[in-house]
């Protein structure tokens, strides 16, 4: 299972999903009305490292985080 966390202002509980790559995650979240509007502006981290490709393979216990637009300071 892969854990998917939604950070900051995205009001959504973490998901536990049985997926093997980020393409599968993209399809699931695009169909989720709570989160689909956020996807365009969200960065994605795998095990706390930002990723830039959908191809990275996922394994049991991985953590994915969705990071909406930031504004520190």
């Amino acid at each position: 299972m892969v854990r998917v966390e939604f950070l900051g202002p995205i009001q959504k509980e973490a998901l536990e999903l049985d997926i093997s790559n980020l393409n599968e995650l993209a399809k699931i979240l695009q169909g989720d009305a709570e989160v689909s509007d956020w996807l365009e502006s969200c960065a994605v981290a795998l095990n706390d490292t930002l990723v830039t490709s959908l191809e990275a393979p996922l394994k049991d216990g991985d953590k994915i985080s969705l990071l909406p637009p930031v504004c520190g300071g």
Binding site: G8, P9, A26, L39, C42, L67, C71, G72
Partner: protein, 145 residues
């Protein structure tokens, strides 16, 4: 050094501690940047969420960049509520040379604004409202869209 505090920063104490930690380290220039909550749009204050694991790795990468230039960085940020005229952010660079320090604080603060995993909310009428219009999508966003 990256320090997170719940609530506002004690700016004089932090600036003093950082100065005293480094003034004998032979850095000629010490430039802190202090961010203070301004009265705008009738807010009562700001509130912050911080995602620490990625903030720490982002900060580590800047520590490496600083080290490569013979410099050092320190940063403090608030979590939770920070009211009007209180301060939520201090970043500082120490460097042997002033040019490196002036350029580095500029680059560091700009990348902080664009990349650090911190979310800002306006506090208004007892509500906590995401500051969407002032926020920046992290580089590479939209991967799942």
């Amino acid at each position: 050094m990256l320090s997170l505090y719940t609530g506002p920063l004690d700016v004089p104490t932090i600036l003093k501690e950082w100065y005293e930690e480094e003034h004998k380290s032979n850095y000629g220039a010490y430039i802190p940047f202090v961010g203070t909550v301004r009265s705008e749009d009738e807010i009562d204050g700001l509130s912050f969420d911080v995602y620490e694991p990625i903030l720490e790795s982002w900060f580590s990468s800047w520590q490496e960049k600083a080290k490569a230039k013979g410099a050092k960085i320190k940063m403090a940020h608030s979590k939770g509520d920070v009211m009007l005229h209180e301060s939520s952010y201090i970043a500082a660079v120490f460097s042997p040379k002033r040019r490196v320090a002036l350029e580095f604080i500029n680059e560091f603060v700009e990348d902080f604004k664009a990349s650090a995993p911190i979310w800002k909310y306006d506090l208004r009428d007892g509500q906590r409202i995401y500051a969407k219009d002032r926020s920046t999508a992290i580089s590479g966003s939209g991967l799942l869209a």
